[in-house]
Symmetry: C2
């Protein structure tokens, strides 16, 4: 079905097609399509634009990545399907490693994701060699596997669209966690050190350009910033309800 450019939600529908293509190409899990749908709903509620609070979080994230000793960008299927180029660019500008780390583990998907990352310019992709695997504590067996040279030894981890239990396990392992989560109320959003409440297709571009700047110290309070995000949604609902 062709979506006309005049459609009020054209960009969102285009992004959805990227995910569906990612699914057809074995990058994205069935559950990843569902997760994207949830994201679409929250994106709709924030007005499908990068909000002021998201911009604040992006600045804090860029500073944190630039200050890190050993930062890792964790990549899942949705992230790889939506913005592979920006992942590589961010890894370069912040000197971060890239690790494929899946919630719904699958060797086939891992390989497909690694392939697209390499095609987009990644030199090394961690998380692919079972001999290098290590286990996070405080989380059930299927979901605790990480790379010894990647997330396991990182001081700063950027995780996209992450599960709450896993974010908590990363925090217990004393990592600084940066996340993209369109739901400001999720456990991941509430647990991370920096939560970017935005669609990665918009904010990864901004994060790349922000990370290129020299970077003065940023004061940032994630809880406070999340409250602003929630307020932005409430205001949006109010406005839409009036126009309904």
């Amino acid at each position: 079905m062709n979506i006309p450019k005049s459609h009020p939600r054209y960009l969102s529908l285009q992004t959805r097609e990227k995910l569906v293509n990612g699914f057809v190409n074995n990058l994205v899990a069935k559950e990843g399509l569902l997760a994207h749908g949830r994201g679409e709903a929250f994106d709709y509620l924030i007005g499908e634009k990068t909000t002021k609070s998201a911009k604040n979080a992006i600045k804090a994230a860029a500073y944190m990545l630039n200050q890190a000793q050993n930062s890792v960008i964790s990549v899942n299927g949705n992230f790889a399907a939506l913005c592979p180029k920006e992942i590589i660019q961010l890894a370069k500008t912040t000197n971060s490693k890239i690790e494929v780390n899946l919630f719904y583990s699958s060797e086939k998907r891992k390989k497909a994701i690694s392939k697209i990352l390499k095609k987009s310019g990644a030199k090394q992709v961690l998380g692919m060699d079972k001999k290098q695997s290590a286990k996070l504590k405080g989380i059930d067996s299927a979901r605790r596997i990480v790379d010894k040279n990647g997330i396991f030894s990182a001081d700063v981890v950027l995780v996209p669209l992450e599960d709450g239990d896993r974010t908590i396990a990363l925090k217990k392992a004393k990592k600084k966690v940066i996340t993209f989560d369109l739901n400001p109320l999720s456990r991941t959003a509430q647990t991370a050190d920096v939560t970017i409440v935005d669609n990665v297709t918009r904010s990864m571009k901004l994060l790349v350009s922000e990370s290129k700047k020299s970077g003065r110290k940023v004061t940032f309070d994630n809880k406070k910033n999340l409250k602003s995000s929630i307020l932005e949604i409430r205001k949006n609902l109010e406005r839409r309800a009036k126009n309904a």
Copy 2:
């Protein structure tokens, strides 16, 4: 992957697995998985429970179905995957016909949906015979096909999770429209006569039991009720933001 029962969103994740199974069994389209994800987000925002305004809408829907001369329950893949038994029960208690009607049309999916409905006890499933097809006006060709003996000649149509353009076409054809839509701001929600802002896995059960009651006349204002739904979401956001 086994979701532990202790997971705070266990029920929601179980429901998601029903959708994913429906996808594996050809009932559900890829886009249906995305649509369910959007629904999950709104369900989360209403607190994953049947709200007071949803209960009002369910009463109004039961009354409308019982008063109808010729009511039809329109079934898509998601609806069939989530609550096939309740669809059959509701058809029996309200003397409604059942029609398979898909947004992303596919003969294969139609057959799979008809099969599960018959397995769940449906005697007749409309929408399967091309010779009986008719066209709704005011909508593009791919999406206007309905059954002559079903939606085309119905006075009341219950549509789950419907597209905005199609709901408008049904209204132009002078049908009364009852819908399930977890987004109270959607065009479908705003266009229908009765909008049940609830998860079908909860509200179909309630609608079945409500339709068995003798049914006094219900006064119901959909726009006003939708404003209550939006208010419930705003209050929920406020409460959660406080507890966050």
